[in-house]
């Protein structure tokens, strides 16, 4: 599994749902997109052990 900002790779055992995976990583689902092979996943999707997943943060900072 690839996490962005900062970029890093972690292993999470599957199968599990997107919601479970985010809970294990202590990531707030409202703050990220979860992407598998260029496809967006909703929080009920089941992830297989071998899946490569990107967890992409969406909250930006700074004065805009």
């Amino acid at each position: 599994m690839k996490l962005r900002n900062p970029d890093r790779v972690v292993d999470v055992d599957g199968p599990c749902s997107v919601a479970d995976m985010l809970r294990r990583l202590e990531v707030v689902p409202e703050a990220v997109l979860v992407i598998r092979g260029g496809t967006l996943l909703t929080r009920d999707e089941v992830l297989a052990d071998a899946d490569e997943i990107e967890v992409r943060p969406v909250l930006s900072g700074g004065e805009r």
Partner: protein
């Protein structure tokens, strides 16, 4: 999850609307939310020439795509802030998107316009980078809109941006800023000429997660990395706090912001609402005259400070040791 519209496999869930959508229907949903916002706040019409501030990030590129899809006359404006490789990659993303949609993109650079970059400005003035960056962006966006003859300046501020700003202003009871927070900032005429172009925020009803999802679904290649200068930024911490509340109680962010617009915003007035607004004696931008001396706007004062410190001779530090 199934799409609320067609019952096909869903790609995005929008919990505050108790809904999920497949890709095409999510795109339709976002278009509908933005169209509703433009109409509700009477932001602009298809007769207006719109200048959209483009950063190369998800919000501004998604906004450009949405406005073109809705049939508006849109030109992009990219300001190169000189933040190393981050600015270079952002500019590439902006130019690539403009080429893809065959849109017009105006590009200017802080260094070429004023002789400094955002990191240099922060070092010279001692201000946090985001503060000087925001001041310069607001100034340059407005200047470009005036010089190029645009009637409306459009920015990609989304629901989370506006909620975080509101949260911060309430935490500190910054009543002056509460008096200014609105999806529409009207044109300001000073000494018989337009000094501030009308400024609007059509994404205020779209959450940041949704603009990101929109960009992914539309194949928009935006800069995912965060600006290297925002680490520890307060606005970001407010967003994280609000995300926790939203997770526990979907709809909190939208209720907070739109409740403020509907029930509270009218109770606050900007502190300078009754103060005499005059043209800056240096550049003509609007500024408040607080005393008898010539009024100089905050942008010119900041630029002056940076130039003075850059030109000042370096003094050797006096040794504390006895000779």
């Amino acid at each position: 999850m199934k799409c609320k519209v067609c019952r096909e496999h869903a790609a995005v869930d929008v919990r505050r609307h108790n809904a999920a959508f497949c890709g095409p229907h999510f795109v339709d949903h976002v278009h509908g939310q933005v169209a509703r916002t433009i109409k509700e706040f009477r932001m602009f019409t298809t007769d207006d020439r719109l200048l959209v501030a483009i950063s190369g990030g998800k919000d501004s590129l998604a906004l450009w795509d949405i406005l073109v899809s809705l049939g508006y006359d849109v030109t992009g404006f990219y300001l190169d802030l000189g933040i190393g490789g981050y600015s270079a990659r952002s500019r590439t993303a902006a130019e690539a998107f403009a080429a893809r949609i065959e849109g017009k993109l105006i590009v200017r650079s802080l260094d070429e316009e004023h002789g400094y970059t955002v990191p240099e400005l922060a070092r010279l003035t001692g201000r946090v980078p985001c503060s000087g960056c925001g001041l310069n962006k607001r100034y340059e966006f407005n200047r470009a809109a005036l010089e190029e003859g645009f009637s409306v300046l459009v920015t990609g501020h989304n629901l989370d941006d506006e909620v975080a700003t509101l949260f911060g202003n309430v935490l500190h009871w910054n009543t002056d800023m509460l008096g200014r927070q609105s999806p529409v900032l009207e044109e300001r005429v000073v000494e018989s000429r337009t000094a501030l172009v009308r400024k609007v925020k059509p994404l205020v009803r779209v959450a940041e997660r949704e603009t990101a999802a929109y960009a992914v679904l539309r194949g928009i290649d935006y800069v995912v990395e965060e600006c290297p200068m925002v680490e520890g930024n307060t606005q970001h911490r407010y967003k994280e706090a609000m995300a926790l509340l939203e997770e526990a109680s979907p709809g909190t962010k939208q209720q907070f912001l739109f409740g403020f617009f509907k029930k509270a915003a009218g109770n606050f007035a900007a502190e300078d609402a009754d103060a005499p607004v005059v043209a800056c004696s240096r550049c003509g931008a609007p500024t408040v005259r607080w005393g008898p001396e010539a009024a100089v706007c905050s942008f010119c004062r900041t630029k002056d400070l940076a130039e003075r410190r850059r030109d000042a001779p370096v003094r050797p530090r006096r040794s504390r040791r006895a000779p």
